[in-house]
Amino acid sequence: MSAALKTTALDATAQAFLTRYAGLRARLPGSHDARDAAATRLRASGLPGPREEAWRFTHLRPITEFTFLEPLTPIEDCPRLLARLPEIDAPRLVFVDGRYRPDLSTPPEGIAVRVGGPAGEAVLAGEKLVDLNTMLGEDGAEIVVADGVDAGTLVLASLATDRDARHGAFHPRHAVSLGKGAKLTLIDVALGEGVYLNNSVLAIRVAEHAHLTHLRMQLESIRAFSFATLFADIAEGGEYDSFTLTIGARLSRNEVHANLSGPNAIAHLNAARMLRGQQHGDFTSIIRHIAPNCQSNQTVKTVLDNAARGVFQGKIEVARGAQKTDGYQMNQALLLSHDAEMNSKPQLEIYADDVKCSHGATVGEIDAEQLFYLRSRGVAHEEARAMLIRAFLAEAINGISHEAGRAAMETCLDAWWGADAA
């Protein structure tokens, strides 16, 4: 009975979005064909529900507590939010409440950037949150690095302002495309205040022998809802190297679909997460080894305190013929409290025999032996505990080779501890 009620509430929320679409349709930029098709699918099948296998651990019910509206006129100033952006000496593209803000941005040189509407081609049609994004998306950045160009570092910032009772929903649609042999480090930061829903989609194309380093910092408001769906296609010899830090949002889901579509392509999908209070964080990834001789590597570390809930779903698919695949996946979670909960579902789906695939998962508390060892050397209990938790996360963060990016991640980590102490 309660399941039925939940579904009804979700249906009502889906209906509200559809109604918004009907009202906004004429004002939304670009072609309406894809939007209409997405609306049709949403109308038929609604938002992701708890009975769907891919959503068994993450329930969207909390979003039904709010009515989300599209943001009104832009807030002229958001100094508090800007101040929180990591100090990285690089050009930046700033979006506030889902809309591009040229006044706050410093566009890069050597990179083609187009804004003013949803960017890039259609990806992952039929994924419900992507459909929602397609239907209502207003803006986004299309970032193109030409063949052979080393474009350095670019910051892509999403800021969300607190509008009290008027809860904003925005659906940015970004696209990043690296030409053959091109290089880019994209530092992708999302932060905000208050209650809002940020439902972003990012489509990435890494051409032959190109290299994208993608550092993602999800520092959203602790009351916000954050859904980020990422699609990456990596061509022959290309590399997509990503690290995702998740600290914010009441309810978040970070879903990555990475296709290794050319031989010798490489994908790293690493992540660290620290969640507390009532936070719920979901990291879901589907890595498809389509071509032979590709490599994927994934280490996801999760620290859960209070009544936080962590979800990890990681699937590695090896297509028939994708021989010599090397797939490695490790997810580890530390539970710091009796009310915390971790749900993991690592998954292998393999259709080729000459492959090396493995996954590992551990869930547990801080190692008592290690704790005792530190204390026997004179380190106080709380300090020892903190040291071990830091060490646990550091293993993941130390792998980031971009120094400024790693420093920014560490600063966030420190801030998290600071908040903990307070």
Partner: protein
Amino acid sequence: MSETVDSMEAVTAVTEGGYKWGFSTDIDMDMAPVGLNEDIIRLISSKKNEPDWLLEWRLKSYAAWLTMEEPDWAMVHHEKIDYQALHYYAAPKKKTGPKSLDEVDPELLKTYAKLGIPLKEQAYLAGVEPAEGERPQVAVDAVFDSVSVATTFRDTLAKSGVIFCPISEAVHDHPELVRKYLGSVVPASDNYFAALNSAVFTDGSFVFIPKGVRCPMELSTYFRINARNTGQFERTLIVVEDGGYVSYLEGCTAPQRDENQLHAAVVELVAMEDATIKYSTVQNWYPGDADGKGGIYNFVTKRGACRGARSKISWTQVETGSAVTWKYPSCILQGDGAVGEFYSVAVTTNHQQADTGTKMIHIGRNTSSTIISKGISAGRSNNTYRGLVRVLAKAEGARNFTQCDSLLIGDQCGAHTVPYIESRNPTAKLEHEATTSKISDDQLFYCRSRGLSQEDAVGMIVNGFCRDVLKELPMEFAVEAQKLLAISLEGSVG
């Protein structure tokens, strides 16, 4: 192959695609009409002369089944099963109950021989008493299609208070026990196939080990599907009271038939304080031919409840047969310090599909579980490990270790791993590892350079891969299992 080899045997080996148990036995059968409805259930119940409460239970289960849908989450694909096209009761005709083996159709006894029932069991089944001083090691219950046809050593067992009999008899002789425990681990409405089984089960084994008794011998059941167009729905219930111990073995074969046959069994285990149940299965139902025609649909619900403190349930399975396997022997670890184990080897070749694994539900404090799963895929088969480890909030100090390894033979098969790991207790420590590999050319050459044939080398490497599981089987079963593995994989490399 030398020319002196029995040509009949050679022909059989070829035509049966390696399945050596594909004979059928010509026995006079008593069959229920085809189809499923309340009347059929009443007929089964009356054939068994069952008490009203059991008929009521069956009818309730049937009503529940009617409201349910066949599960579709497993990674298996098969033709839709027409549940109205099956016989739900088939029994060898006999005048009265099997009081003595003399009353058993001689064809049936021949069947045992063909089944390759190993060891001394055949003699025991045939009623030969062991020589003085020779301790019987295994007591056997043989279930032929839907009914138990012979149970050995009941008297010997009874002396130590052990009850080992067909469940249809236990319903009459020990109604209080059956009524108390039947459906207490796998409720009638648990899942689609369990509901179906609860409605139409015809026989199976019942074991009761009283307080403090260590069962003096291994207990064993051989299941055999023989009749055409029948489903087999056996029901096994094993209850071990405080401090008791039993080791139970289960073997299964079926004739080679072009049509698919349904097997939907339910096994319930109850272990009280300090009790231990070791349940071993060698499943060799007919897997279908090389093109995927025929074979058993094996949809089985097996679950054990570790109700008492320090109780232990250990499942060991070697799954080589069946066209489709859907099976997750599980442990509900309720008692503090309870232990659950799952050791599994699943081999799929040709077009076989297996989706098998376990569930370990940690409820009590300091409960621990171990899962070792070895999946071997060859041909065009698909082999999936699906498992759940769930630690509930009160399971302080729970432990799980899971190791899932897949071995792929050839590039047309699939190997999949789908573990669910859910923890709600910080003091719980869960570890999961999974790997995928193939038999390396170097390993094959190394063995061959020492004189082993290609097939023996494959058999040896595969057995090595499965060692951690096979060593959990009782010795004589382990030998059978090793041979079975090698036979199952014949011709899959090279």
